[in-house]
Structure formats: C-alpha cells, structure tokens
C-alpha cells in the first residue's frame, strides 16, 4: 500500500448509462478518492463500444500508477483488446480485468482507494468472480 498516486479504473460498457451508473456507485462506495472513468456507448450515443472513448478514459484515469479496465460483455472485451494491441502510446501499466462488471468495479475501486498497487487492484477485480452475494 502506498500513499502516492492511485491506480485508475476505466469501466467499459455497451451502455453509457450503465458505465456512468457503475462509476458513480464504485466511486461512492470507495469514498471518492479514485478516478473511476466511464467509457460507455458508441461515439454517437448509441449502444455499443468506442475505441476513442476507451482511449480518452484511459488517459483521464491515469494518475501515474496504472489503469485497470473492467469490461461488461463481449465486444467491450474485443474493443479494449484491439486498442491495447494497436496503440503503443498508452500509459503503463494497463490491464483488462476478467471480472464481473459491477462487483469488479467496486472491489477494484475500493482497493485503489486504500492505496493498493496495480497488481493488488487488478487482483481485487478478478477475485470478485468468486464473491457470493448471499
């Protein structure tokens, strides 16, 4: 745990409303000290994903300690993978979390708020796969 820059979180969704809402929830649960940036919907506001939106969100979330991306479904994953493969000018470290969207977003943001490093934040998101609700 460090008191320096926090790891940033990017939430990639087909829906702008879903990404915005998940970012609001994760930010409030974690106490608001982490950049949780939504990247939802297409460039013209429809349902879908946008490489340009994800790219802007990564730069907005980056504070020097890396960025963890949490995707919702299907082409969110493909869009991020395409961006990471084709763009060599992105901040580092950067990783796509294999995690459920809401739980992964909340768990990752909380650990980022506690000063967790990139590996700890990515791990928190992915551990959310195993979390029970009941």
């Amino acid at each position: 745990m460090s008191d320096g820059a926090r790891v940033g979180i990017v939430l990639v969704s087909h829906s702008a409303a879903l990404a915005d809402g998940a970012a609001e929830l994760a930010g409030q649960v974690a106490g608001g000290t982490v950049a949780v940036v939504p990247a939802g919907g297409t460039d013209d506001g429809g349902l879908g994903t946008s490489i340009a939106k994800v790219r802007r969100a990564i730069f907005a979330a980056h504070a020097g300690a890396g960025v963890v991306l949490v995707p919702d479904l299907g082409s969110s994953v493909l869009t991020v993978r395409t961006l990471l493969a084709e763009d060599s000018a992105l901040p580092e470290p950067l990783a796509l979390a294999d995690a459920p969207f809401v739980e992964g977003a909340v768990a990752a943001t909380v650990i980022a708020a506690a000063g967790g490093d990139f590996t700890a934040v990515l791990g928190a998101a992915e551990e959310a796969r195993n979390a029970r609700k009941l």
Binding site: Q28, I111, A114, A124, A131
Partner: protein, 94 residues
Amino acid sequence: MPGNSDEVAEAAITLAGDLHARPAGSIAVAAARFRATVELAAGDARADAKSVLAVMALGATTGKRVVVRATGPDAPDAVAALIEILAAATLVGG
C-alpha cells in the same frame, strides 16, 4: 520487523444501523491499510474485512453483534480503527 507479527486483537460492537454498501466500502478501505489480516464475524458469517464484496455479503443488520478480529503486527490499531468506523458508519446508513 517491528512489533509482534502474531499479535491478535479482538473487539465487538452492536450495530446501530445496517451495514450498507458505503459503510462496507469505508471498512474495506480502512482495513486494507493495515498489514494485519482482519476478519469480521456476524453470527455464523465471516468476512475478510479487506474485501468490500465479502463485507457486503455479511448481512450485518441493525442490532447484530459484529466481532472484529485482527492478526498481525498492527492488529490492535486495525481493530480500533474498524470499531470506530462501524460505530460511525452504521449510524449514518446509506
């Protein structure tokens, strides 16, 4: 390594309100700052205090007794910090 790495501390509190998402977040953020392992117990349920999802799933509601148990070099400080948060956060709710 300073301190006794096997130090164990424990305290309990009766919740004045439900342990909702935001208090669970406050607890996990605070617990993750300590080196000690920290566990919450409510009835038969147990949760790693550093896991916000586990704390939310604890089902700790108003009037339930929650035991905070820490093991590690900063265990007493961890228990004191979490009891304080549980007392304050469950009064506010959310």
